[in-house]
Structures are given as C-alpha cells and as structure tokens.
C-alpha cells in the first residue's frame, strides 16, 4: 500500500510537472507572438560573408530596434536550397545561382552582390615567411603532381629561399563550400588538366591530401601539419595570422593578397544587368587572381510589402554605411559603380 501511495505521489508530481511545462510552453509561445509584431527577417546562406552580414544586421538593429534580422550561416548550398523552398526571406551564396536554379523560384530572383573577398593559399613551411607560387606551381601542387617543397617549379619563383625537402600535404575543404567553388573555378580557368580532372564545384574530389571541415578545420590542419598548404578566405587568414602565398596572375606578375590587389580585380570586371559575374581569372595587371563577389538572394515579389520595404532598407544600409566595415573584417568594399548598379537593382523588389 505504501508503495502504491508513493507511486501516486510520484504520479501526481509527474502530472503536475507536465501541466506546468505545457502551461509555460503556452506562455512562451504567446510571448513569441507579441515579439513578432515587430519585423523579423530570416536569412540563410554562405559562411564567407557571415561576419560582415552579422555586423550589418546588428548595427541596423541598433538603429531600428523594431527590426530583427536572423542570419544563419549554414553554407551557400543550404542558402540557395532554403531560398528556393521559400523557407527564408532572403538567401546568400558565394556562387551566384545558375539559370536553372533561378527558374525554379516562382516569385522571381534578384541577385545582389553585397561584398567581395579574396581566397588565399596559406601554408606551413617552417622557416619560410615569403612564398611565391607561379601558376604551374600551385596548379601542380593541388593536382598532386608537385609533392616536395624543394621542387624546381617552386624554387624557380623563389630564388634564394630555403625550401625544405618536406612532403607537401594539400588541405582542402571536406564540406561543400562556396570557397571551394571559387577556388576550383579559378583552377579550371587556368588549367585544362584541372578542368578535365577534378573540375569546378562546391564539393570537389581533390586528387591529393587531406580535408578539414570549414575554414577553422582547414586552418587547424595546416597549423598542425608541417608542409601543408590549403585555401581559405583572406579575412580568415588575416584574423588567424596565417602566412599567405603571393600568386602569379594572368599578366604574369606576382601579387600579394591584400585590399588594393583585390579591388584591382573587381575594377576590371563590368557587371552585366543580372549582376552575375564570375571572376575566374581577372586580367588587370595588378589584380590578385582569386577574387569573388558574394551575393544576397532576394525574391522579386514578397507577399507582405512591409517585408520587401524593410529588406530594401537593410540592403541600402549595407551598400552605403555597411561598406565601411568591409576592409576591417578582410572583405573588399564594392566599387562605387557596382554600388550604384546594385542600388538600382533594388527597384525590382516589391
């Protein structure tokens, strides 16, 4: 009997707890609803511009406390996917949507380049602070044909440098990524072997080496592996203090990755009307060779006009004041002509 009574006490405690949690859930959801009386915008997409976007959205929220913008940096592919399925108010991607992808969105798509960035080759060769890589050298390394740091192809561009007899370990991204897309598109543009071999894409099977997850994974592997080389975003390499290789560009010059050389690359590219341009191999004399725009994906028509208005206001902020944060965070501010073009394109959104 005592056992039975204990059971019933336990049971009523359980039932009470259940009721309580149901009630508190209910209260919570009520709270949610009142909060959403203000404007909330949902976005998903690329990790590359995420630090910049998040900075914009925070600053914007401080000026307009009634507007809350949630940006989830799940990756370019996820950004495009969720945007196509209509799960978000806007998407973001380092790889502009293709025509087929655009055709699948019935509300229409406006692609807006918001910022740009360089992709750098970062390495871990003890005792080597400066490294110049010719086109043959870095294509050869990533194809797995050049396997030692003292290979004559690398040595040719680095006279006097103490290149060790260490094996090269290529580090690539294990997860699908816009960074991989931009980098492999560049390799495909400059090397037929790459184009016909691994090819270009968000997830490419690299012929050599190991792979880490995300920029942090790649960076950690490079730091821990003497002889490693890999590709990461310029802003990330800058923040983590990784050495960056100087690369040979289309005109045969060796260019250091920095703000100026990135801007040169953008300057040489005129954006078409749909604002979609792949800069696979910039031709300007002083341009850094691996540079990309990154896009916000917006619908042409929004069911709620207030959403469209708010989104446009946020984007205008990003295009004007927002650009001033770019250089600090390792991005390339958009050229003035591009800002004008993108601002005009906002009129398509309603």
């Amino acid at each position: 009997m005592i056992v039975a009574r204990r059971n019933s006490i336990l049971f009523s405690a359980l039932a009470g707890f259940l009721l309580f949690s149901l009630a508190s859930n209910h209260l919570l959801s009520l709270e949610d609803r009142t909060a959403s009386a203000a404007m909330t915008l949902q976005g998903t997409g690329a990790t590359f511009p995420a630090p910049l976007y998040q900075r914009w959205f925070k600053e914007y929220n401080q000026m307009h406390p009634d507007v809350q913008i949630n940006y989830q940096a799940l990756g370019s592919g996820a950004g495009i996917k969720q945007f196509q399925q209509g799960l978000v108010d806007f998407g973001a991607s380092d790889a502009a949507m293709t025509d087929e992808e655009i055709a699948a969105v019935k509300n229409g798509v406006v692609l807006l380049p918001m910022t740009a960035g360089s992709i750098v080759l970062t390495y871990n060769v003890p005792g080597l602070s400066e490294l110049k890589l010719s086109r043959d050298a870095y294509v050869g390394i990533f194809l797995g044909k050049i396997t030692k740091w003292n290979d004559p192809v690398i040595a040719k561009a680095n006279p006097g440098a103490a290149l060790p007899d260490t094996a090269i370990t290529v580090v690539s991204r294990s997860d699908g990524s816009g960074t991989t897309f931009v980098f492999t598109s560049h390799l495909s543009a400059i090397s037929a072997d790459w184009k016909n071999g691994p090819g270009a894409g968000k997830a490419v099977t690299f012929p050599a080496g190991v792979a880490g997850k995300g920029n942090p994974g790649v960076t950690a592997l490079i730091k821990q592996t003497p002889g490693a080389i890999g590709y990461v975003e310029y802003g990330y390499a800058k923040q983590t203090g990784m050495p960056m290789a100087t690369l040979e560009n289309k005109s045969g010059q060796f260019i250091k990755p920095d703000l100026a050389s990135g801007q040169k690359a953008l300057a040489g590219v005129a954006l078409p009307a749909n604002l979609r341009a792949w800069i696979t191999d910039p031709a300007e004399a002083d341009a850094y060779p691996i540079v990309t725009y990154t896009w916000l994906l917006c619908y042409k028509k929004y069911s709620d006009p207030k959403t469209a208005e708010t989104l446009k206001s946020v984007i205008k902020y990003g295009l004007s004041q927002g650009q001033s944060f770019s250089a600090d965070l390792g991005y390339i501010p958009l050229p003035a002509a591009t800002v004008d073009q993108v601002t005009k394109a906002l009129d398509q959104i309603s």
């Binding site: 009997m1 059971n7 019933s8 990524s177 968000k202 592997l221 821990q224 592996t225």
Partner: protein, 341 residues
C-alpha cells in the same frame, strides 16, 4: 502502534491510487512501444529517401571507390573500409586498456597496496579508513566513466592539437625504418587513421571497462574461492579462471564498444583526414561513413542526398547488426552464470 495507524496502513487502495497506478503503467507501456516505433520509423524513412539511389545504383556504390558529386559517382567503399578499419584499430587499443582497467578495479589490486599502508598506520579498525580502497576504486571508475561525457568535438580538437603532434615522431620513425610493413607504408602527414583510432580508443574505454568490470565482479564467489583453494596464484586465477568465466560479458562489452566506435562522427571527421583513400597503412588519411554524411549533407542536392541516405542505410545496417550481436552475447553471459550462483 495505535489501531488507527494500523487501519491507516492496511486500508484498501483508493480509486485515485488504482487509477494512477493504471495510468502510470499505460504510460510506461506507451513509452516503451514508442521507442520501438521510433527505431522502425527511422529505418523506414531513411530507406524511403535512399530508395531512388538504391534503385539507380544498385550495389555499385558498395564496390566503387570514387565519391564525386559533380559526376554523380557515389562510391562508398573507402568510407566503409575506413569505418571498419578505424573502429577495429581503436577497439583493439581500447580493449587492451579497458580490460586492464577492469581487472585492476575488480580484483582488489588497489586494496592490496592500500591495505598494507592503512594497517601499517594502525587505521584498519577505523571504518572510514578501512573502506578507503573501495571508495578509491569507485572514484576511479567514475572518472573513467566521465570520459564518456566529454563531447566528441572536444575529442576532435584535442586530437588535432595534442595527439597528432604526439604520434608524428614515432610514426615517422616507424615509416622510415619499417616502411616495408603495409601498416607503416605511408607517412603521417597530419590527420590519419592512427590519431583517429587512438581517440576512438579513448572514447570506447568507458564502455569496455565498465561492462567488463561488471562481468568480472559477477564471477561467483564460490568460483573465486575454489580457484584459490586448488592452489592457483593470483595471476593464474585471474587469467585462467576469472577472465575466461567473464569472457562472454567482456566480449559483449567489446561489441558494444564497437557499435559506439562505428557511429562516431565529429571526432573522426576532424581527425581521419576525409580523403577517399583505401590503404593498409595506419598513417594514411581515410574517410568514414559518418564523417562522409556530416561533411556532405549541408550542401548536398537531391541526387546526392539520396546517395548519402544510401550510405546512412549501410552504416545503420552495420551498427544495428553489431549492437544486436553484442546484446545477445551479453544476455547469454548472464544466463550462463546463473547456474553457478
């Protein structure tokens, strides 16, 4: 005791008590049934998404070695190989240490040393000090079980920053001196099978040591006394009688550890190198099914998701099989020992 209190204690159950009893029983039953339904549900829903891929590719992915989403080639053989290789290697290391810990904690080795100290200090009559060895044993067991509470991603980071630099010098030495042995045939560039397996070994350690210890403790006292009674030394008793008696339980522990190792994702995605390579070398980078899934899901398109679900189904089949075998063995171990008690 007053008659009132007796009446209070021996009264028949009230309607509320009977009702709550029944409801509680029904709730428990529903909870148990729900767990079963959940397993079936997961299997069915994965199988449904994987069906188109299974239909299109048949058994080809199981023998193909290339995973290239751009060319719609989805070979998972290297991932299956890597999953089994890393798990078995990790398991061998984990078993050696796990079993050693289990023997140490169950056969009173700690008490042997500590008792002498306590007696020498004249504290053996003090109940607090006399129970010290048992307490320390329990504490050690808890600490080992705490290993299971460390998040997988922490193990991964620890592996990258501690294990890899630690194993690189011996690995380089083994490769340059014994490179003709297939297990040492490549250099360890950084991430690879060995660091992954070492971290796996630590992760399965709590499972193996806890269950093996239980199995050793369950060896009937009659048997222990008989062993020493016929004049066996401590080591003879442990190795020739206790361990073989507990063997089924220990084997079950190993199989359950195997199941845990197979499904481990994050640490392996960070340490194995994610390269679709099949090699006998412990220093070569590799890939595993779970890491493959974790890496490719977020950016996968419709076709690739199908292929990934195919891989998930294969992983699920392997793990389910291993776990079922482990559970069956453990149950057998229990019933075998029953006759001896």
């Amino acid at each position: 005791m007053t008659s009132g209190a007796i009446r209070e204690v021996s009264r028949p159950p009230t309607g509320l008590e009977i009702a709550s009893d029944r409801i509680f029983r029904q709730l428990s039953l529903a909870g148990a049934a729900f767990t079963l339904v959940l397993v079936v549900w997961i299997v069915v829903s994965i199988a449904r998404v994987a069906a188109p891929a299974v239909h299109t590719y048949g058994f080809a992915p199981l023998v193909s070695t290339t995973w290239d989403a751009n060319r719609a080639e989805f070979g998972i053989l290297p991932a299956i190989w890597g999953t089994l290789y890393s798990s078995i290697l990790g398991l061998i290391i984990g078993t050696v240490f796990g079993l050693a810990i289990a023997i140490f904690l169950s056969e009173g080795f700690l008490a042997l040393g500590l008792d002498a100290v306590i007696t020498a200090m004249g504290l053996s009559d003090n109940p607090f000090w006399a129970s010290m060895p048992v307490r320390i044993q329990d504490l050690l067991q808890i600490i080992i079980e705490l290993l299971a509470a460390i998040p997988s991603v922490v193990y991964g980071l620890w592996g990258i920053f501690v294990i890899i630099p630690l194993v690189r010098p011996p690995a380089d030495w083994l490769h340059s001196h014994l490179g003709w042995i297939p297990f040492f045939s490549t250099t360890l560039s950084g991430p690879g099978m060995l660091p992954a397996a070492l971290v796996l070994a630590i992760m399965v350690l709590p499972t193996i040591s806890a269950i093996s210890r239980d199995a050793l403790v369950a060896v009937p006292p009659k048997m222990r006394e008989a062993a020493f009674g016929i004049g066996a030394t401590r080591w003879e008793a442990i190795l020739a009688i206790f361990v073989p008696t507990a063997a089924t339980g220990i084997f079950g522990a190993i199989i359950l550890g195997f199941g845990r190792a197979l499904g481990e994702t994050m640490a392996l995605a960070m340490l194995a190198g994610n390269a679709n390579v099949m090699s006998w070398s412990m220093f070569s980078p590799a890939n595993t099914l779970a890491a493959l899934l974790a890496n490719h899901f977020p950016e996968a398109d419709q076709v690739e998701v199908g292929a990934l679900m195919y891989a998930a189904l294969v992983l699920l089949a392997i793990t389910l099989m291993v776990n079922v075998v482990g559970t069956v063995i453990l149950q057998r171990a229990d019933s075998q020992l029953k006759g001896l008690r």
